[in-house]
Amino acid sequence: MMHLDMRGKQCPIPVIETKHAMEAAGPGAEAKVLVDNEIAVQNLGKLAKKKGYRFEAKKEAEREYSVLLVWEDGSVQPQAEEETQAEECSVDARRRGTVVVLSSETMGEGSPELGAVLMKGFVYALAQQEVLPETVLLYNGGAKLSCEGAQTVEDLKSLEAQGVEILTCGTCLNYYGLTEHLAVGSVTNMYEIAQRMTEAGLLVKP
């Protein structure tokens, strides 16, 4: 475990020196960084998020914060692209029994345009969660989200690559004439949809 005392140093120094120390130590590196302000903690948080390091922060005293960064096996390599980040995330991160239901192209009520932007944002954010759902169910308008041309396809693919089951309603694909255009996951039926939903420990419906 490296100890880096960055108190009294202004951003970006704490982040830059921590980054260098982590990279010099390589995979498995652990660093405990002391800083004297919360903004520095947040900047270290951005470093951790981008690099896939485990991040824990604690306020020890007035003007003293300790930040733990751990480069765990399976976290991304430095400068890795976002796609690899998704692929290399651990499959164990899935939470058993959580089912996300996307039943519309849009999220929330109000402007459909904004709703579409929000839905795209939601699927993206979902793929970035530390704990992922077990299954994503798509039906009715939601079925379009997993088809060619939808802006959500990449993020759904990223979820699938991380072990999340992506199931789209076959009746719905047929209705919208999209049967040949499913771009990610597999086709399901109402029996399976009902089963996944009744057996779910947690249903998430944005």
Binding site: C11, I13, I16, N37, A40, N43, K50, G121, Y124
Partner: protein, 344 residues
Amino acid sequence: MENKIQFCRGGGCTAKLGPGALARVLEKIPRVKDENLLVGYDSSDDAAVYRVSDELAVVQTLDFFPPMVEDPYIFGQIAAANALSDIYAMGADVKTALNIVCFPEEMDLNILGQILLGGSEKVQEAGGSLAGGHSIHDADVKYGLSVMGTIHPARIFKNNGCEEGDVLLLTKPLGTGLVCTASRVGLVSESALDKAVQSMTALNRTASEIVRKYHVHGCTDVTGFGFLGHLCEMMGQKHTARIFAENIPYLPESPKCVEEFCLTAAAQRNRNHVESKVLFCEDSFATEEILFDPQTSGGLLVSLPPGDADMAEKEMGKKGVLCARVGYVEARKECSVIVEGKIV
């Protein structure tokens, strides 16, 4: 140079107090009502505007900060260009300026001379007269100007009068905070720093004089609160800006500064302040950091109708002023700014 490190330690607009902290303090200060005070600090405008007569108003501004570059002469130019910019953001003409100086007792006075020389040259370029100032001893160097300008009271640029359908123009590249900070830790090339210096020392005079000929609904200069901070202020509660990140001009190597995690505290404070009002459609850390980056002596951000924007853009092109169409103004959505696409 022995004074180097002491001279420059995280300056420019990265030294500004956070917008959140500032708002909390200001709201407790009693406000004086004077009907001739056309712009005061109850709006988030850049300067005070006082009507002297039906034809004349004076614009008053003050801006100063610690050095963000090692060269004192360049620092003087940048600090002055930055202070003068507030006048241009109101659509006014520069008349007089006063120096504000903090300088360590033990430091070489020639350094101060260089700073003041740089500053005075910029005031001259602005068509104003440097009329004096005030200097005190302090632990660190700080320099800036209080500037007075004039304007017709009916032609003041508001910063929040934008209308649906307006085009948003930006007249300087973003990334000065990132590049200056990175240069202090040796992460950018000399030519990248030169480009940043070129941008920071340039006056917003020509841009301001050009857009004055058109129907400017909103205008501000992009400084310490970053592009998104100033844009959110501009949108107020009634409008939403849709920004196309591909159109955002940025300084060379600024994305690299983000990759190297050259992250300033001020950028993070800006992020904390307005992140909840901004929707990023694409995931790009570099785009976000550049848009939150605090600018020193940044460009004008102008909201004007599409036809006017076309003509202003053309004229700026002719005069060699950068002018980027970065987005447009829409009816209010749930957030103040929607950022589409990514810079890199």
